[in-house]
Symmetry: C2
Subunit: 116 residues, 2 copies
């Protein structure tokens, strides 16, 4: 059976101009800070990068522990943070969970940071 | 007398392709995570945004406490984090410190996040 976790999409771009074009309202600053915090970890950045480089931009959790050299529970925690923040989606296939890059999620954060 | 603090420029883009194009080496993941961590705070995002909206993309520290509604020492701490991370530069003019947006600093982080 295949089940896909529905994402709590926090669309930080729904509201705002880039950070440097218009003063950021407090509420939107909270949302963007939350997204950046999910990304601001070297292991999580590497996990995103490895998933993105995998076929179909999807990888089995079982293939993600070795490249980052951490325990399976630690990697699972980081994958959950990225999934909760909307950067990865999670699909359960039998024993294993597969993680895929959510198209456009990183771009929407990047767009808020660019000045031009 | 005018003194400008020299920045410890951590150029996270000197090395790397965007995160989703190539697996991020551990060392570069550390640098990018550090930059993102400096940004991942709602007050710091608002401070950047306010400085960017100021004339010449520069603002006196004395004009930055009221808009974010925090004490001067707290705001100074946040400004120091942003300066240390290379997003703002600091110039002392008499009693007051002025903070300016470092051109291209936010863009360089954004470029590492975009997929296209």
């Amino acid at each position: 059976m295949t089940t896909t976790t529905l994402l709590p999409v926090v669309d930080v771009t729904a509201c705002c101009s880039p950070l440097t074009r218009q003063t950021l309202p407090a509420e939107n600053a909270e949302d963007l800070a939350r997204s950046l915090k999910a990304l601001a970890d070297p292991t999580r950045l590497r996990l995103i990068s490895i998933v993105a480089a995998s076929e179909g931009q999807e990888a089995c959790a079982c293939d993600l522990t070795a490249p980052v050299g951490l325990s399976q529970p630690t990697v699972s925690h980081h994958l959950k943070v990225l999934t909760d923040a909307g950067f990865l989606s999670r699909t359960q296939r039998g024993t294993w969970a597969y993680f895929a890059l959510v198209p456009g999620a990183l771009d929407s954060v990047a767009r808020l940071l660019v000045s031009a």
